[in-house]
Structure formats: structure tokens, C-alpha cells
């Protein structure tokens, strides 16, 4: 006997045609799967009744399939090299990028021919995508068993700052796990959906996501049922774990004794710290009894007030990031209608109090902050497979960094500014630099800096077959398009001839939010230097263009139109301009370009007369009249 669920009026599916869908929160530490059944979004549990699946995969030798979840996490201490955790942090990263952060992981990274890093395990080499696929497969199977049928598709949540490479890697992992991705959804947007904020007419909402190891803040705006991410901010190295460490420091101060602590004692203290932290969400004080092996013990109490003083710096760090995100979004704190809490660390009372003080209103409560993201994803998945025609909400996300291309002189021309809502398509026209130029190299870059060298190169392609024309006559339209999943494609077309070329950017590199943050900070810090560098390069490019044009003209008709003396004078100007352009005084170059233009005006006038004369010579007055 099949088990049935209640449908919305008029939307009961035909037998064997149920639209089953699930939402997956693929987290750094923990993952969850949820689904809408009989109109209610619920997280799905495994046969042991556990909702949360630790994002840990243990690989085994001799063909045994990998273990995922709690038992893998418990095996981590005994089998560190084959037990892979926190893989989300290296999703979409290249081998080069891992050199910086790979040291934090105990695994043995192997460089292979490809740019995707591999990790050596008992089951052979595995990529981060394959590891994530194991987690997704586990959750997918749980959903199939619980819902009693194959999934039509899933919505997987990703951090709002995830770039193209990280989003693509997540999609690839889902594909590998045999799941059809309906949509990647930003985590903060999912949380807002879970609270039904989308059913309000409009408003600005702040999503405060404080997890175990990371902090993220997102400012969303809802207008006429459309969600738009105004800004995001965060710190990949700030979380509840920091509170635990702070507490451990304090405990060690109480115990006294040696400066060095063995790893096993540290582990014991961390566990005690976490338990104390959790107890203090309800209690005003906890009694601590610390005793481990032969180490000196300690007994005493810890009040919530003491605890608050210890972790206050951590909470204040998050609030500073909140302020910056508000500034980025261009909104005042009074504009924020609702604050949504995500992540286990938001259970700490001080976090809630700080938020309430800052925004002068209490944050939304009621949904488990650890499950809220997966519930929102489930609701969105349910809508996308067509189970709920009421919920036609459209979710918009933003580009974390500006996207643009390189123009002459190594400068960046931004086509899609940072924080632009996606999906988006923007086109801009460019032209050729030299006479008879038949090809153009298009370098796609990401970042906020003025010079390409300071930004991140995503791809490069060439537009060939441009018909020979004078410099500046070609009209090359370059279109940047970012789809709903945040993937970029760039197309270039010469409008006169129709020749075109395009590229889909599936970059093998990724950026962490820390790096995105770093690039942003650099763009502020170097703003002045960048402006100067850009002005200099602009003048240098202009000087180069003038030199090229003058030389071409001289070669063409210099002998006919100029006396020897005039010609020498102009040639001197050109070489002077060339020499000045090689130096770094933008003002001097600009003045010299002006002088060159002024001093060569007579030559330009003669050339003009000459071409008019050429055009008119040999024609009757009638013919000229007809031509007009």
C-alpha cells in the first residue's frame, strides 16, 4: 500500500507522477536534507533518528564503499589521512591556491596533470568534488527512502560569496551523486524563505549566520516578491569554535600549571568548554569540574556574565562586519525589517542580545537555526518542481566581485559591477586599436582593482576574422552573461561583419570569502594608487595611439604634404612623446599629447583638404550634387 501525502487543492499528482524534491544544506561541518510533505517543510532523519549528517567522509581500502557522517567523524582521530572533513573550504580550488591553505589539512594532496587537486586515500586519489558527491549521495538516498520515490530534483544551498568555480564544483558533485540540481540557492536567501519573509510585500532583511567555523552576514531586499542580495560580508575564520578556544584559555588560566598542553588534554578541555557554552544558553551559571588524567584539576563555577566577557570580542568582531555589510548595501540599520538567525552559535544569548541592541529589535526566532537553511531550500525545491503554484517566488542573487575585461594598457574595464543581481546580461562596445587589426584578445577578469594584473584572470579568448579597418572603426560588442546559478559566459561579436566568438567560464580556480574580502580591502586600500596608475596608463595608451597614427600618416603622405623641415619637427615631437610616455608622469604625457596635437594641426588640415580634393577631382558639378 502506497503512503500518500496531502496536496494543495487541484494539484494532486497522477499516480506514479509525484513531484518529489528535496533541499540540501551542504555545509562545511554538517549537512542536512529537507523536503515539503503535506505542505510542511521538515528535515529528514536517518534510520537512527539523526537529522544532521556530519560532512565527513572516510575512505577504505579493498573496494569497500566510503563511510559518511557520524561514524566517519568518530574515525577521524584514528584514521586522519583517510577521513576527509571540511572539504567545502577547498571546493573549486586549484592546486596552486591550495598551496596557501593546504597546510591546514592533514591530508596528502597530490599534484596531477589536471588543475583540480587530488587527495591520496586508501581508496586511491579523490577530488574534493568526489568527496562532496559522497555526502550528497548519502542525503539523496535518505530522501528517496523517506519520500518513497525518485527525486525529480534538488535545491542545494551555497554561501552567497561562492564564485563561479565553487558553484560549478558543487553542481558537478551533485551530478556525480546522480542528483538533478534544480537550482543552487544562496544560504541566506534560503533562510529568509524558511521564515516566509517572501510572503511579505517588501522589506530589507539581515541574515546573520554564525556557525561553528565561519561567520556570514547578508543583507537582502524583497520587492514585489523578488529577493535581491544587496550585500554580503563575512569571515571564514570566525565562529563558535573561537568561543570554545577562548573558554579553554580561561580554563587553563584557572588550572594553572604548564604552558604546553597535550593534544588529548586540549580535546578534553574543548569538549568541556563546548558543554559549558551550551549549558549557559539556558543557565545563568554552570559548575565546572575539570579533571583529566594526572593533570592538576580545577573546580569552580562560570557565570554567564563571565562567559559573556570572554566571548564579547568575538561577537563584536561579527558586529563590525554587520556594519560594513550595511554600509555596502547602502542601508541604515533602521531600514532593516527582520533579522534572521542561522547557525548553532546564534543560540548564545550574548549574540542575540548584541543583535537586538544593534538593530533595536529582536531577531526572528522559532525555527531551529541549524535547520533553517535546508528548510528554505526544500520550500524552493517544492516550488520548482511545480507542487505549489502559489509560490512563484523568484530568487535573485548577486555577483560577489566585479566582472570585466582587460583593455589596452592592462587596465580593467568593468562590465558587471560587484553586487549586481543575477541573472544578468550586460553588453559593452569596444573597438580596435590599430589600423587593419584583425584579431582581438579578450581577457575576462574578476576583481575591484584598476589594473588587470591586480585582479584575477578567469579566462582568455580571441575574436578573429575582424575585417581590416582603420583603428576605431570596428564595433565589437562584448556581452557578459551570468545565469541563475552564477555561471558566467562571455561573447564577443564584431557588428559590421558578424564574426563572433564566445567562452563559457568554468574556471578551475576558486576564491574563499576571505580572499574575496581581501580583494575588496585591497581595492579600498589601494584606491588612490590605483587611480593614479589608471590615469598614467590611460595617458600612455593615448600617447601610443597618437604615435601610431602620426607615423602611419607620415609614411602615407608625409613626403608630399610636408617640407623637410616640418617633417623633422613632427618626427622630433613623436620621439619626444614616445620617450615621455615611457616614464610615469601622467600630467607630462597629457601635456605633450596636447602639444603634439596642436603642433600637427596644420598637417591634419592639409590631409583633410587633400582628401576632399581627391574625392571631388574628376567629377562634374552634377555628379557631386547627386552624391549629396
Amino acid at each position: 500500500m502506497a503512503l500518500l501525502q496531502i496536496s494543495e487543492p487541484g494539484e494532486a499528482a497522477a499516480p506514479h507522477q509525484h513531484h518529489l524534491a528535496a533541499g540540501i544544506d551542504l555545509g562545511t561541518t554538517n549537512s542536512l536534507v529537507a523536503s515539503v510533505r503535506s505542505g510542511v517543510a521538515e528535515t529528514l532523519q536517518d534510520p537512527d533518528g539523526e537529522h544532521i549528517l556530519p560532512s565527513v567522509v572516510q575512505y577504505h581500502g579493498d573496494g569497500e564503499s566510503p563511510t559518511v557522517g557520524l561514524s566517519a567523524r568518530n574515525a577521524a582521530v584514528g584514521d586522519p589521512l583517510n577521513t576527509l572533513a571540511s572539504i567545502k573550504r577547498i571546493m573549486g580550488k586549484s592546486v596552486d591556491e591550495l598551496k596557501g591553505i593546504g597546510g591546514q589539512y592533514p591530508y596528502s594532496f597530490i599534484e596531477t596533470g589536471s588543475s583540480v587537486p587530488r587527495i591520496e586515500t586508501a581508496a586511491g586519489l579523490v577530488s574534493p568534488i568526489e568527496v562532496s558527491a559522497e555526502i550528497l549521495r548519502n542525503l539523496g538516498e535518505r530522501a528517496v527512502e523517506t519520500l518513497g520515490g525518485d527525486l525529480e530534483g534538488v535545491v542545494i544551498t551555497v554561501p552567497a560569496y561562492f564564485d563561479d568555480a565553487q558553484r560549478q564544483a558543487t553542481k558537478d558533485a551533485a551530478k556525480l551523486a546522480g542528483l538533478n540540481v534544480l537550482r543552487l540557492l544562496n544560504e541566506p536567501t534560503a533562510a529568509a524563505v524558511a521564515y516566509g519573509l517572501d510572503s511579505q510585500p517588501e522589506g530589507i532583511h539581515a541574515i546573520y549566520d554564525f556557525g561553528g567555523g565561519t561567520f556570514d552576514i547578508s543583507i537582502l531586499r524583497l520587492t514585489r516578491g523578488v529577493f535581491e542580495v544587496l550585500s554580503t560580508g563575512g569571515d571564514a575564520m570566525l565562529g563558535g569554535d573561537d568561543m570554545d578556544h577562548q573558554l579553554v584559555e580561561w580554563m587553563r588560566g584557572q588550572i594553572g600549571g604548564e604552558d604546553e598542553v597535550s593534544p588529548s588534554l586540549l580535546k578534553y578541555l574543548l569538549t568541556e568548554a563546548r558543554l559549558a557554552k551550551e549549558a549557559l544558553t539556558e543557565a545563568e551559571a554552570v559548575e565546572l569540574q575539570l579533571q583529566y588524567g594526572d593533570y592538576p584539576g580545577w573546580q569552580g563555577s562560570l557565570t554567564r556574565e563571565q562567559f559573556n566577557r570572554l566571548v564579547d570580542p568575538i561577537v563584536q568582531r561579527s558586529m563590525r562586519i554587520v556594519r560594513r555589510a550595511l554600509r555596502d548595501a547602502g542601508v541604515e540599520r533602521d531600514d532593516v525589517a527582520e533579522i534572521v538567525l542561522v547557525g548553532g552559535s546564534t543560540r548564545v544569548p550574548l549574540v542575540r542580545e548584541s543583535i537586538e541592541t544593534f538593530f533595536a529589535r529582536p531577531p526572528l526566532q522559532g525555527i531551529d537555526p541549524e535547520r533553517v537553511v535546508s528548510l528554505g531550500a526544500a520550500i524552493q525545491a517544492d516550488i520548482l518542481v511545480g507542487n505549489n503554484s502559489d509560490g512563484d517566488l523568484l530568487l535573485l542573487d548577486v555577483t560577489p566581485l566585479s566582472l570585466g575585461l582587460e583593455i589596452m594598457g592592462g587596465m580593467t574595464e568593468v562590465v558587471i559591477p560587484r553586487n549586481t543581481t543575477i541573472p544578468v546580461a550586460r553588453a559593452q562596445e569596444f573597438t580596435t586599436f590599430k589600423d587593419g587589426q584583425t584579431a582581438m584578445s579578450i581577457q575576462v577578469v574578476q576583481g575591484e582593482r584598476e589594473m588587470v594584473a591586480d585582479n584575477r584572470s578567469l579566462a582568455r579568448f580571441e575574436l578573429r576574422g575582424i575585417p581590416p579597418m582603420v583603428a576605431g572603426a570596428a564595433r565589437i560588442r562584448v556581452t557578459f552573461q551570468v545565469d541563475a546559478d552564477g555561471l558566467l559566459s562571455v561573447a564577443a561579436q564584431e557588428e559590421n561583419s558578424g564574426v563572433q566568438a564566445e567562452i563559457e567560464v568554468r574556471p578551475s580556480y576558486g576564491l574563499s570569502d576571505g580572499e574575496v574580502e581581501g580583494m575588496l580591502k585591497d581595492s579600498y586600500r589601494f584606491a588612490e594608487a590605483d587611480r593614479d596608475a589608471r590615469m598614467l596608463r590611460e595617458q600612455q595608451v593615448e600617447a601610443e595611439r597618437t604615435v601610431v597614427a602620426m607615423e602611419a600618416a607620415l609614411q602615407h603622405d608625409g613626403d608630399e604634404l610636408l617640407s623637410a623641415e616640418e617633417r623633422t619637427q613632427l618626427e622630433q615631437l613623436i620621439s619626444c612623446l614616445r620617450a615621455t610616455a615611457a616614464k610615469d608622469d601622467a600630467r607630462a604625457i597629457e601635456q605633450l599629447i596636447e602639444k603634439t596635437n596642436r603642433d600637427s594641426e596644420f598637417y591634419a588640415a592639409r590631409r583633410m583638404d587633400r582628401s576632399v580634393h581627391d574625392a571631388l577631382s574628376g567629377k562634374s558639378v552634377d555628379e557631386i550634387g547627386e552624391g549629396e
Binding site: P15, E145, T146, L147
Partner: protein, 107 residues
């Protein structure tokens, strides 16, 4: 005869309706199609139609249209678990045979 609900089913329907925030009851119905003739239908009801028959079971309105009534009379709606899966079951005395999965049936 009538249509009834087990206490387990009634409790679930109550909580689903509360969660949904609107709706006057639960519609039981059958529609043609499926691999074995007829298929069950289970929907929230926002509006009761004139021809509908309404039963009360544990304080919940169970709504059935007259065409479906002939196939469903005497049915008891139950709620149960099978492994990880859980959902509603139709205990329908009119059924002669059903397809393997039980989602569609013949009378």
C-alpha cells in the same frame, strides 16, 4: 455508510492544517488513470462545493465529491510508517484489486 479517520490520521491532518494556516478540511477523492484504473486523491480544501458530501471525524471535516463517494464509501483513512517513509493509507472495503504499489485500484 461514511468516511472515517483513525485517530493517528486525524492528528496528522490537524497539525498539517494548522501549519498551513488556512483550509476548511481534507478532500478524499478518486480519479481515473493510473496503472490499475482509479487513483486516490488527497488534498487540502479551501472551499467546499455545493455537491460535496461532508463528514466530521475527530473534529475534522472530510470532504468527498459524489462521484468519488461511490468508490470510497466505508473507507477509513489511516496514517502510518513504513521504514523511513510515512504517510496516509486508504483502507477501502470496495477495492477488489490494486496495482503492486497500491496507488491505483479497481472496484
Amino acid at each position: 455508510m461514511a468516511i472515517t479517520m483513525t485517530p493517528a490520521a486525524a492528528e496528522r491532518v490537524k497539525s498539517f492544517l494548522k501549519n498551513r494556516g488556512r483550509g476548511v478540511g481534507l478532500r478524499l477523492g478518486v480519479k481515473t488513470s493510473g496503472c490499475s484504473g482509479m487513483a486516490y486523491l488527497l488534498e487540502f480544501v479551501d472551499q467546499i462545493e455545493e455537491e460535496d458530501q461532508v463528514f466530521e471525524s475527530d473534529g475534522i471535516k472530510v470532504i468527498v465529491d459524489p462521484k468519488s463517494m461511490v468508490y470510497l464509501d466505508g473507507t477509513e483513512l489511516d496514517y502510518g510508517k513504513e521504514g523511513l517513509n510515512e504517510g496516509f493509507k486508504f483502507n477501502n472495503p470496495n477495492v477488489k484489486n490494486s496495482c503492486g504499489c497500491g496507488e491505483s485500484f479497481n472496484v
